[in-house]
């Protein structure tokens, strides 16, 4: 188990490095730098205990008793370090034209035309506690969309340079995948690459879809191009069988649970990776933390409030507040000093800290370029003649159609990745609970009375079997490029219980993204038609109530959901005038202040961003080590003159 110290103990000494945030990026950096012998302090704003067995069981119970199984539903609310929740958004009935169709409660203040429907988690382990575990790489062209396709931003580094870091991240995360297939897809450069673990078996739905439409040519009406459907598996950070063709010395070993030594299994198809894997097959940062060397100190419940500047180009450490009772506004403030400060607190939290500290914002880009993968859901019932498709088995998705992600079509519309959902209409309609409610007659008639046509017993089972068993859902994740208008700002009037400023979010979808969403919806509809499935997708307002994320584009009602992929808020670039951090994720303006995480990404392509974030973090760890080692070397080195001594 990871050892934790109190806020007081943490402040009692100096460190080489202080890291803000104990999620994936912060944990990876701490482990790497700690292993090199540097004294590292990790400050986590949220509660700990996720790394203990009782904490894990509590998470499971909280999830099981939650009415809405949203990503944060397994984790207890914390007023002292609040997290945004996808349930914070509500639609407006009969919205006035031109006015937002939503209201936002909770942690975020939202003032944009469209909702930012993405959450994160402030707790030990970070948002990774409820991540899905998808670890696809980005392809070369994703790093240079400006040069190749005339939109978005180019990265200062490319896919080639990231290849070894990707491989390293896949080892650290424990990725299961099919190397050859990912090479064929063009995201892995080495034709003989092997993942540490053999791929997670594909779902029955994958096979069902493959048999139905593999090789079909689909016309994208927006890009005006034809695309041939080929199914590809998804690399996942989930325990499967170690790959004997991966390095043999030492062979890869599956890592088990955190908090209990004789638990932790391989994926057996429980369908709740988000928000929690009940057998701990899903990889978590807690596994890295459990192996922290003694040189790494972790302190929970330490909310970093400010980065302290010490000179023209240097910072001296951070100021943080600790709380005992999260429900009370009482907290105590401390200062801790370190040679290097690393912000690894999530894209939006990093931006919030930099903005409040008034640091590193010469470019005016801090908080700007907020990105996500706006996800267009499409749902249908498989043909009755083909029988059940077997939803709610396995990880969230195990395969997808990748062809719309790449190529010249990107000039005309944002690219999108089609995930084949394994969890029925769960995301779109709240299935299967919503199906049960409907079948029971709950939801009521127009007077709010329980409907008389509810069923129970064998009839309920039959109805559920036919309504749930054939649910197909496609999740079309659209790339959102860097757009300075999408941003996080602070407003002194909006503060959390501890008194820290809450993020104010301004969010919209550009024409290019809306075109991508329109194409995605059309393509999904066509795929369902070819499969003989009955398309139930409906993004139009019902009874005057628009779905969340609703907009009308070129006469079509569309809606998107947030993917939880916040990025871009301290964007990477080579020009200090237009970007916040350099390729090493060091702020341009300070020699010892780093902002790491998805906030650094200049584009997100159509890949779930964790893997790329981890590759960048591992690369930065190496750079931070180099800079510290260089700084510690004496200016003049003289070899002692031994001749005299021996004489």
């Amino acid at each position: 188990m990871t050892e934790h110290v109190t806020a007081d103990a943490a402040a009692r000494r100096r460190y080489d490095i202080v890291i803000v945030g104990a999620g994936w990026a912060g944990s990876a950096l701490a482990q790497r730098l700690g292993d090199k012998g540097w004294q590292v302090l990790v400050l986590e704003a949220g509660n700990g205990d996720t790394d203990t067995w009782p904490g894990f069981l509590d998470t499971l119970s909280t999830f099981r008793s939650a009415v809405a199984k949203v990503p944060n539903s397994a984790y207890r609310p914390n007023a002292a370090a609040p997290s945004p929740n996808v349930l914070d958004l509500a639609p407006v009935r009969n919205p006035r034209p031109g006015e937002p169709e939503f209201t936002a409660g909770g942690y975020f203040v939202q003032n944009g035309p469209l909702p930012y429907g993405t959450d994160y988690l402030r707790a030990l382990g970070g948002t990774a506690m409820h991540w899905l575990g998808a670890v696809p790489r980005m392809r070369d062209e994703d790093f240079e969309t400006r040069t190749r396709y005339g939109y978005g931003r180019d990265w200062p580094i490319g896919a080639a340079e990231l290849q070894p870091w990707y491989a390293e991240a896949e080892r650290l995360l424990g990725a299961a995948g099919h190397g050859q297939e990912q090479y064929d897809l063009g995201v892995v450069h080495d034709s003989r690459y092997e993942y540490p673990m053999q791929e997670i078996p594909r779902s029955y739905i994958d096979r069902y879809c493959k048999e139905a439409v593999e090789g079909e040519v689909i016309t994208d009406p927006v890009a005006e191009r034809d695309y041939t459907l080929t199914l590809y598996g998804l690399p996942q950070a989930r325990n499967s069988t170690p790959n004997p063709r991966y390095r043999t010395d030492p062979p890869f070993r599956v890592r088990g649970a955190v908090g209990l030594p004789n638990f932790g299994e391989r994926c057996v198809g429980n369908a709740s990776c988000v928000p929690i894997c009940p057998v701990q097959a899903k990889s978590l940062p807690l596994r890295i933390q459990a192996a922290f060397p003694r040189s790494v100190t972790v302190a929970n419940r330490c909310v970093v409030t400010r980065v302290r500047r010490s000179g023209e180009r240097s910072v001296s450490g951070v100021e943080y507040r600790t709380y005992t009772d999260p429900a009370s506004p009482v907290s105590r403030s401390y200062v801790v000093e370190a040679d290097v400060v690393v912000l690894a607190a999530h894209a939006i939290e990093n931006a919030r800290l930099l903005l409040f500290s008034e640091l590193a914002n010469g470019s005016g880009q801090v908080g700007r370029n907020l990105m996500d993968h706006p996800t267009v859901l499409s749902w249908a019932l498989g043909a009755e003649s083909k029988g059940p498709v077997g939803p709610f088995r396995g990880p969230g998705h195990t395969s997808g159609w990748e062809v719309f992600r790449f190529g010249e079509g990107r000039r005309r519309r944002a690219p999108f990745r089609i995930e084949i959902g394994n969890w029925g209409w769960g995301w779109a309609t709240g299935a299967p609970m919503s199906n049960v409610a409907t079948a029971l007659g709950i939801g009521g008639d127009e007077h709010g009375e329980v409907r008389p046509d509810g069923v129970f017993g064998p009839e309920l089972r039959r109805l559920l079997g036919s309504s749930v068993g054939r649910q197909l859902q496609l999740q079309l994740a659209v790339e959102q490029p860097a757009d300075p208008g999408n941003r996080v700002t602070l407003d002194g009037r909006h503060r959390d219980a501890m008194g820290n400023p809450r993020p104010v979010i301004t969010y919209d979808l550009s024409e290019h993204v809306r075109d991508g969403a329109l194409a995605a919806r059309a393509v999904a509809g066509e795929i369902f038609r070819r499969m003989g499935a009955d398309d139930f997708t409906n993004h139009a307002p019902r009874d005057g109530v628009p779905p969340l994320g609703h907009f009308v584009h070129k006469g079509t009602d569309l809606a998107y959901s947030g993917a939880g992929h916040g990025a871009g808020t301290h964007i990477m670039g080579s020009d200090p005038a237009t970007s916040v951090v350099d390729a090493d994720q060091k702020t341009h303006e300070f020699d010892n202040l780093y902002a790491v995480g998805c906030g650094s990404m200049a584009s997100v392509g159509t890949s779930n961003p964790t893997l790329t974030m981890m590759a960048l973090a591992l690369r930065s760890a190496e750079r931070i080590h180099d800079s510290l080692a260089t700084a510690r070397r004496p200016v003049v080195i003289r070899t002692p003159d031994t001749t005299e001594a021996t004489a």
């Binding site: 188990m1 067995w53 069981l57 119970s61 099981r64 053999q198 791929e199 078996p201 594909r202 029955y204 096979r207 499967s240 069988t241 170690p242 004997p244 063709r245 070993r253 599956v254 088990g256 209990l260 030594p261 004789n262 638990f263 932790g264 299994e265 391989r266 057996v268 083909k386 029988g387 059940p388 064998p458 089972r461 039959r462 559920l464 079997g465 036919s466 749930v468 068993g469």
Partner: protein, 397 residues
């Protein structure tokens, strides 16, 4: 009669030759397996969501019994034997006489989660240090003593016949390794010489009864894992409702913090129920059909293990989903009242009977071998069970 019982009746002795050693190892697998229906029943009768500490403690022991069974199979394969798991002679009848223990002990029944069940568990796992030392020719006293006899046997036979004769080459492909078996304290490993054989025996006995007169197992020493309590002491924590403190010794009562155990959160069963009893009520209760099905699926599980131990270690990937299926099937039985109205009126629930005979195994062998042929399960290849999906278009209800 299972091999272990035969051996038990011959009285305490150390295996004298390779043939006897193999018989002992076959018996070892049977003894490990004998505990599994007992622990399964204790665990799955806990009302879901309650008694979590107890549930996971029993589960952890159960997983380690599976590890022991697998290590015993590896050892048996290493010494030129052939593990036989998928047959009626492998399975004991409950209440079962516990082999290699004192003849004064009452037979081990299937019991729901209760103080009585925990006392049975403690009896099964009782360390040697709590039992009088055995005399050659006299009766057996503990399972720990049995494993010690095995250890002595291995050493003596290797001494006499040479390591190469005892551990012939060319049997590596029969070993189940960590790629195929996981999720317990400790780890499975290949057995190929005296050293690994003794380590396997040490893991088995120390996880069960603890390291040399302590309450701890040796997972920290052998596998660099966290140290955990040996089985007897894990059960004693539940039994006494209190966890062990850092300085407690085997003979002490636990002195640590209290554990939340609620004995009323259980589904009482009538452990002696047989399929024949359920059959009498087949017209009014589905329990009969479900209990029959449970037994046939349990036979399938043992058949999978048989194939996994006999040259196809990857078949573990078929055994695991079968275990999960059995968990769900056991849960369903325990959720339903006993079909006998008189028992149901007393609040007694149905339970799996673990009655496995020749017909079950014959049917299972055919089904499992068909599945193996379809899925391949070649060593080193990725697991892919998709070929096994029945194309029946079966409806949900």
């Amino acid at each position: 009669m299972i091999t272990a019982t035969e051996l038990h009746e011959k009285g305490f002795h150390v295996p004298r030759n390779l043939g006897e050693l193999r018989t002992f190892l076959q018996a070892a697998m049977e003894v490990e397996h004998l505990t599994i229906p007992v622990y399964m029943t204790g665990m799955y009768t806990i009302r879901p969501g309650t008694n979590r500490t107890a549930y996971f403690a029993i589960r952890s022991v159960l997983m380690e019994e599976m590890l022991h069974m697998t290590l015993a199979a590896n050892l048996l394969n290493a010494v030129g034997g052939r593990p036989r798991v998928g047959r009626a002679e492998f399975v004991g009848k409950y209440p079962a006489k516990l082999p290699f223990s004192s003849d004064d002990l009452p037979p081990v029944p299937l019991q729901h989660f209760s103080p009585e069940a925990l006392r049975t568990f403690l009896r099964i796992e009782q360390p040697r240090s709590m039992t009088p030392p055995p005399q050659e020719g006299s009766g057996w006293t503990s399972i720990g003593q049995f494993y010690d006899a095995l250890r002595q046997g291995v050493l003596q036979i290797v001494d006499r016949e040479g390591e190469r004769a005892v551990f012939p080459p060319g049997r590596e492909h029969l070993q189940v390794g960590p790629d195929d078996f996981y999720n317990s304290g400790g780890e499975v490993f290949a057995v190929h010489d005296t050293k690994s054989a003794l380590l396997a025996l040490r893991v088995i006995s120390e996880q069960g009864e603890g390291v040399s007169d302590t309450i701890w197992d040796s997972n920290d020493l052998i596998f660099k894992e966290e140290r955990t309590l040996a089985h007897y002491f894990r059960f004693n924590e539940i039994c006494t409702g209190r966890s062990y403190g850092p300085h407690d010794r085997p003979k002490d009562l636990p002195s640590g913090p209290l554990i939340d155990v609620s004995w009323e959160d259980t589904r009482p069963i009538h452990g002696d129920s047989k399929v024949a009893d359920y059959e009498r009520f087949a017209s009014t209760s589905d329990v009969y059909a479900r209990a029959v099905e449970f037994n046939s699926r349990y036979a399938a599980l043992l058949t999978c293990l048989d194939r996994a131990f006999n040259g196809k270690p990857r078949v573990m990937a078929l055994a695991v989903p079968t275990m999960l299926e059995l968990r769900d099937r056991a849960g369903q039985l325990h959720h339903n009242p006993h079909p006998d109205p008189a028992l149901a009126a007393l609040g007694v629930f149905a339970s799996p009977t673990f009655e496995l005979g020749r017909p079950q195994f014959d049917a299972a062998a055919q089904a499992v071998d068909t599945d193996i042929a379809l899925a391949g399960f070649e060593t080193g290849e990725p697991v892919d069970l998709s070929a096994l999906t029945p194309a029946t278009g079966e409806t949900f209800a």
